[in-house]
């Protein structure tokens, strides 16, 4: 597995003290960690197949994506569907973001992002000099303050409000033209990770979503909701030489097969999220290239720890023992994934990789159910087309559960119903999550005040460990705390996490520059600025 090699390089790098993902030291050391990694998108990534010299500048790049519709947006802080997210990455940039290889938080608009005086409750962000918006305006501290306040606007919270809601929006302070002081409502060593996400984009103070202006490699040209959007090259982009193509068209498809057909028929140059069942047929096509990325994306079964029958931890444990993970990877993902251990954040430096791999054990499951008085357990599993493979996973799970006499009734609903009034309160359902670091993920789904705590996980010991870890700037000490927290989730949590799924892109062999991305963001972190037509 490639990512193991990655892991090694990363460790060596951290040991050398040159750079690091979550390698937070106190005070001044932080500048070294988070600052000064200018244009280093390719650090740690597998050697790209194409080099800049291989490209012929110009041309129109057409990309096919699934999802989206009448509600399509080009507001950089409000993306929801996959095409929205793809558009957002082209037009806007955040202060920092995890690189495609997920080895470190890479500074984008920020030059540095540091905790003040070794305390994790006040942070200072310093912008790179001479950054320019599409309309020619220079990016200043005012734009940063405006952007954060716009995200946190209590009357109209944007996507990022769920990730950095603990920022004291009123206390944001401009120190000079390029520096902003960011006070938090509580100490959080994970703040750079929470802030450094694609939806926390920087927009100018006079932002107009109808005519969106950002700092991204492409400028907005047009948007036809549900059909397509067009962008043109931003000549003054700060990463010199990029982007390579003159025009970029992102096309919405309602259905993945249509997207694949468009690629094979030559109507688009690249697509993302290739259905797993079609991977081998595309690999056999000489005009196409397939890019397979292992990721930390996970699609859990979610058991509510406060609802019957899952209230009883023995039932949860039994449910986790019903899963034949290898079979699931084969049947659900056509082999495009790797087994998981009911834990998330596999690329976090503090991932609890020493906990024993859970395997199917029907006898143990039966005995646990018997102890819990649930020998003839019947449960309803709510599923829907919320992510590729999810419905199939539900069906395979129901089959596997039969082995221990557990009857799982799969109830498939449409997505509108899934996310309707019962969203986050289904007793037994499914969900999908992107690759994140452990603490960022915990903030999203594992605390009582997390916006998406679908398992209703509410464990005092766990919360105390997380609180301590957030205040801890020493990496080793923090890892100890996080490993203990993961042990608790492993023993008592409400997630069944059978696998981490790959993401698969495919593109015409006429173009190059699409890299693998462990981040789970397709097309190499949607990095279309690095894609060009080959000479």
């Amino acid at each position: 597995m490639v990512w193991l090699d990655e892991e090694l390089t990363r460790r060596q790098v951290i040991r050398a003290g040159a750079a690091g993902g979550l390698a937070l030291g106190a005070g001044g050391a932080l500048a070294g960690c988070f600052g000064g990694d200018d244009d280093s998108a390719n650090n740690g990534a597998p050697a790209p197949q194409a080099q800049p010299g291989d490209f012929r500048p110009g041309g129109t790049l057409r990309i096919g994506a699934t999802g989206g519709g009448a509600e399509d947006t080009v507001d950089g802080q409000k993306p929801t569907s996959d095409p929205d997210i793809m558009r957002t990455w082209q037009l806007f940039e955040p202060l920092a973001v995890r690189n495609a290889a997920f080895t470190k938080l890479e500074m984008v608009l920020a030059e540095s992002l540091e905790a003040e005086k070794g305390k994790a409750d006040t942070w200072t962000v310093r912008l790179k000099p001479d950054l320019e918006f599409h309309n020619g305006k220079t990016v200043t501290a005012d734009d940063v303050i405006f952007s954060l306040q716009r995200i946190l606007d209590p009357k109209d919270p944007k996507v990022g409000a769920a990730s950095i809601g603990y920022v004291d929006a009123k206390g944001l302070k401009k120190m000079d033209a390029r520096t902003v002081r960011i006070p938090l409502k509580f100490a959080n060593s994970s703040f750079p990770e929470d802030l450094g996400q694609y939806f926390n984009n920087i927009v100018p103070t006079d932002f107009d979503p109808k005519n969106p202006v950002g700092t991204g490699a492409f400028k907005y040209k047009s948007l036809k909701p549900g059909e397509q959007s067009t962008f043109v090259r931003f000549p003054n982009y700060w990463r010199k030489g990029e982007p390579y193509v003159d025009e970029l068209v992102i096309i919405d498809f309602t259905e993945p097969t249509a997207k694949v057909n468009a690629l094979v028929g030559g109507q688009v140059e690249a697509i993302n999220n290739v259905p797993f069942s079609q991977v081998s047929s595309l690999q056999g096509n000489g005009n196409l290239k397939v890019v397979i990325s292992e990721t930390g994306s996970w699609q859990p079964f979610t058991m509510r720890v406060d609802a019957d029958p899952f209230k009883d931890n023995r039932v949860r444990q039994a449910m986790r023992l019903l899963v034949d993970r290898d079979q699931m990877v084969q049947q659900v993902l056509s082999g495009q994934g790797r087994i998981a251990n009911d834990l998330y954040a596999p690329y976090d430096d503090c991932y609890a990789k020493d906990l024993p791999q859970r395997k199917q054990d029907l006898e143990q499951a039966k005995s646990l159910l018997k102890q819990a008085g649930q020998s003839d357990l019947r449960v309803e599993l709510v599923t829907g087309d919320i992510f590729r493979g999810v419905v199939e996973a539900a069906q395979v799970f129901a089959e596997q559960a039969k082995g221990a006499g557990v009857e799982v009734k799969v109830r498939k609903v449409d997505t509108g119903t899934f996310y309707g009034d019962n969203y986050l309160s289904w007793p037994f359902a499914q969900d999908f999550w992107a690759t994140r670091t452990y603490l960022t993920q915990v903030a999203q789904g594992s605390l009582p005040d997390s916006p998406f705590n679908e398992t209703h996980w509410d464990d005092k010991e766990f919360q105390s460990l997380i609180r301590q870890a957030r205040g801890e700037l020493d990496e080793d000490k923090r890892c100890e705390l996080l490993k203990e927290a993961q042990k608790l989730e492993y023993d008592k949590g409400g997630y069944i996490i059978p696998y981490f799924s790959n993401s698969v892109d495919a593109h015409s062999s006429k173009i190059g520059g699409i890299q693998e991305a462990k981040s789970g963001f397709t097309l190499g972190n949607y990095q279309l600025r690095s894609v060009g037509f080959l000479k």
């Binding site: 009448a70 929801t80 057909n261 468009a262 028929g265 109507q267 609903v413 309707g420 009034d421």
Partner: protein, 318 residues
């Protein structure tokens, strides 16, 4: 008399449309979730839901929303989409044009073709060509459109030939007729879906007519074969075909939903699928009204046409 009949039919048609709108409204109501939940999906936090509901005016009771929509449609105002707040007319105008173009192209090809095939096979009744065509049309008729569509894509767009686009992509501001290539495969799918029905009915009634005494008489009188067929037989055989054609064309208005989905054709079908997913009541209502309107309208037209080509009925109506 004919005018009165048409007026009566029109009134009944409007009543049907109103009932359809009620049914669709009830069905939309029965779907759990609202537009804000559908749009935000898994990102829905209570705060963001509240903000979006406010922006989309979803706080009004649904019955009020329906009455507003009904009042609006009577005055020619289709209202605003619940998902985007854009006027529905603006949202759908291009798509209605594209879908109508697709249906009209299909109908213009399918109707004469089916009549020709029907007549041609009737004249070769129980001979090899008749058997071949009949088996072929039975197979086609039993295949769902999406299978036909996918087969056409494999054959003409991706695997065998690269003659036509696999998906119907249109640039910003482009209409289907600006780039007629995108219509070829979707229209061919619809043609293959309806021709078997119309041609079989045409064949059946043609066979009957060909056996009738007046055709024998005309032949015995020494009229040329062509005159016998096209002057005397076809006009009498066509009545049942008109009814089936109307039903099939009306079916096209709904069948486009599936075909547009397969080809990602930017028409009302795709808009309807999406609007249902978004719980976008005004758009769902408008599209279903349009489809139902076409259905009702074509049925009225077929009845009128039947009366006009049937002397017995024509005189009775007078």
């Amino acid at each position: 008399m004919l005018t009165r009949l048409i007026l009566r039919r029109l009134a009944l048609g409007l009543l049907t449309l109103w009932l359809v709108s009620l049914l669709v409204f009830a069905a939309t109501l029965a779907l759990p979730g609202d537009a804000a939940q559908a749009i935000l999906g898994r990102e829905a936090t209570p705060e963001r839901l509240a903000a979006l509901r406010d922006q989309l005016h979803l706080d009004e009771p649904v019955v009020t929303q329906y009455l507003k929509w009904l009042g609006g449609i009577l005055t020619g105002d289709l209202g605003n989409s619940a998902a985007t707040q854009q006027p529905v007319s603006e949202l759908l105008s291009d798509r209605v044009g594209n879908s109508l173009f697709l249906v009209v192209v299909s109908a213009v090809v399918a109707v004469p073709l089916s009549i020709f095939v029907g007549v041609w096979t009737a004249m070769r009744r129980d001979r090899a060509p008749d058997h071949i065509v009949s088996t072929g049309s039975l197979i086609l008729a039993s295949l769902p459109e999406f299978v036909i569509g996918i087969a056409l894509i494999l054959l003409f767009a991706t695997e065998v030939f690269h003659a036509f686009p696999a998906v119907s992509l249109l640039g910003p501001g482009e209409k289907a007729w600006d780039d007629p290539k995108v219509v070829v495969l979707p229209a061919a799918t619809l043609v293959l879906a309806v021709v078997p029905y119309i041609s079989r009915i045409m064949r059946g009634s043609m066979v009957e007519v060909l056996e009738s005494e007046y055709v024998t008489m005309a032949t015995l009188k020494g009229l040329p074969r062509r005159t016998v067929i096209w002057r005397h037989a076809v006009p009498n055989a066509i009545v049942p075909a008109i009814q089936v054609t109307a039903l099939q064309l009306a079916y096209l208005a709904g069948g486009v939903v599936v075909v547009e989905f397969v080809f990602s054709y930017p028409g009302i079908g795709a808009a309807l699928v999406e609007a249902v997913g978004n719980r976008d009541m005004p758009v769902v209502q408008t599209v279903t009204m349009l489809a139902a309107g076409i259905y009702v309208g074509l049925n009225i037209l077929a009845d009128v046409a039947t009366i006009l080509v049937t002397p017995k009925l024509r005189t009775a109506a007078r």
